[in-house]
């Protein structure tokens, strides 16, 4: 930061053109930025550097850790915990798809069909945010409890037969299975899907729907060719806002799952807080970050949202 402060700003603000530039005025943006950015540099960027260095250290708690450029930790971490990584991607992916499938109709409803109920529905979508998500996640233990109405209904409809065959549930149980974890992830991150979808749907000019209808598009085609493409920015940011936190989550896997549903977040947490194997934990955390950054970059490139208006 100190280097940028001494440099000349690229262009003075518009209002200044009328008056001779004052030296103090030109530093205003840097003073405004300084405290906040400093905070982020020290408590967000710097920790990443520390973590990077920790991941290539060796040693023990008793003797202390030293940087030995021991990259083997990464290979070891991947070899030991690839099932947890895979599970994280699969569960988060499934939850993201479910969120999109469930969230789109609701976002559409709020944007185009809710009329005067719009604000109320929006409040109902946001309000659960303000109840501790741990309490709400615990409520799923009750909802999905063995022999409870939900499980009985799914059983009667033979849904559980299908999910058991897929390995998502275990006989008559839903709790402590992958399905319960995915269900909890979907639930927890659904508002992050709905809100961006709603924002981009709401921006669509209603006359575009009329114009499509006027040009021989049936309601279904209108959705496919006009509404959905125009909501792509919302779809992209919604899926990102769902997938990223879901992939790093360990609360749902812990509360609703079993030892067979542990995700990479669970591993990082245990390594860091219980086993105190800092290098492995740091390496895992770095791999997760890199994997997500790569996936996100590819995804944004592929979906070509930069091109959208």
């Amino acid at each position: 930061m100190t280097t940028t402060v001494t440099e000349e700003p690229a262009a003075p603000p518009v209002a200044k053109t009328a008056r001779p530039p004052r030296k103090r005025g030109r530093l205003v943006p840097y003073w405004l930025l300084l405290p906040g950015l400093l905070w982020l540099v020290v408590f967000f960027a710097l920790p990443m550097v520390y973590q990077a260095s920790t991941s290539i250290q060796t040693g023990s708690l008793e003797d202390g850790f030293k940087v030995t450029w021991h990259f083997a930790t990464y290979w070891q971490a991947l070899a030991d915990y690839w099932p947890q990584f895979l599970r994280s991607v699969l569960y988060a992916g499934a939850a993201t798809i479910l969120c999109l499938a469930l969230g789109y109709p609701l976002a559409y409803l709020i944007a185009f069909r809710a009329g005067r109920w719009r604000n109320l529905v929006l409040i109902l979508v946001i309000a659960p945010f303000f109840t501790s998500f741990l309490i709400r996640t615990l409520a799923w233990k009750t909802i999905l409890s063995d022999g409870g109405p939900v499980v009985s209904a799914l059983n009667a409809l033979h849904v559980l037969d299908v999910t058991s065959w897929l390995g998502m549930t275990d006989g008559n149980r839903v709790l402590a299975t992958p399905l319960a974890v995915i269900c909890g992830l979907t639930y927890n991150f659904l508002p992050f899907m709905i809100l961006p979808l709603y924002t981009s749907l709401e921006r669509i000019d209603g006359r575009l729907h009329e114009a499509a209808g006027d040009l021989y598009a049936t309601p279904a085609t209108t959705f496919r060719k006009v509404t959905f493409p125009l909501s792509m920015p919302g779809v992209v940011s919604g899926t990102l806002l769902t997938f990223i936190p879901a992939a790093g989550d360990y609360v749902n896997a812990d509360l609703l799952g079993s030892t067979d549903t542990r995700m990479v977040g669970n591993v990082i947490q245990t390594q860091f807080l219980r086993i105190l194997d800092y290098p492995t934990a740091a390496a895992l955390s770095f791999i997760l970050m890199a994997a997500i950054l790569i996936m996100v970059t590819v995804y944004i490139r592929r979906s070509g949202t930069e091109d959208l208006v």
């Binding site: 000019d205 006359r207 114009a211 209808g213 006027d214 040009l215 021989y216 598009a217 792509m232 208006v309």
Partner: protein, 384 residues
Amino acid sequence: MTTDHGGDVRLTGISKTYGSFTAVQPLDLTVPEGSFFALLGASGCGKTTTLRMIAGLEEPSSGTVMLGDQDVTALPPYKRPVNTVFQSYALFPHLDIFENVAFGLRRRGVKSVKKQVGEMLDLVQLGEQARKKPHQLSGGQQQRVAVARALINHPKVLLLDEPLGALDLKLRRQMQLELKRIQTEVGITFIHVTHDQEEAMTMADTVAVMNAGRVEQLGAPADLYENPASTFVANFLGTSNFIEAEVAGRSGDDLTLKAGGGKLVLPVSRCTASAATGEKVLVGIRPEKISLTHADDAGTIPDGRNRITGRVADSSFIGVSTQYVIESPLCDAFEVYAQNIERDSRLAPGAEVVLHWNPAHTFGLDAAQDIEAGAAKVEEDAAA
């Protein structure tokens, strides 16, 4: 949808109500095939609602919409052989110009659209811009894309909803001629909704003036202007001066009227009110039909002209003409537009003058209406 035997657009008893508000009163209207038809009126008069009922974007509360011999009242918009140029265009922002124009063709399963789209873009002179996105084009270009996107489907009727409203004045004039040219070229029925009387008169063969959900009068532009049937039409299309008069008698094809102390003549054929002796009528005259002569020269006015005396209250020079406001016992603000051919420097405020005009230019209306109806359109236009 592309069949050639088109036909007229016939609206029978069509109306639209929203709750207790009636946007369009039951309306019968026939638009002949191949004509350029304008629906003219101030905002909120029901013209756009009528258009949207033809497009199928609005369901009529009663009545039927016929295209040729086909009843389309129950058809959704995507099944009607009708296309619309929307107000502010509604171009799809995520598709380029080519795909916008090809949209309707593709929806109807046309496989090779390239040639047709190319030709259509050439017709509207946008061949070069095919791969640009709508937001990269100027307002006038976007407007032409909207027209091309609708026309390429060879609709039986093209509906235009205030298509030039978003353009500045100069571009508007240019596009009026352009649209007229395209209409002549393709020969499709155009129904054009506008609040701009000049635009309607420039472009349309037939104009229907709408007011409060009804058609006030329908006819060729010149006809509407010269023979308005109501004060609304007389005021909405241009400016009119009105004098209250009483029918004194009839001689041949003319009515003799008493107004104040004077006598006016009105052809019977130009009076839409019943004109029995003793009844009141409103006498109307357009400002540009009136000649002004200084009171000193009153003797030079030929016989047989209607005349009124007054005093110049105000005059403003606007280039091609000078507009005078004349105070007279019959009407406190008589508007007179005089061509600036030979200006009489004595016609300054305060001067005593005689107003005179050919009786054949006078029109007579039912006296039981509001003289000011439709006159407030200038402010409404500005607000629109």
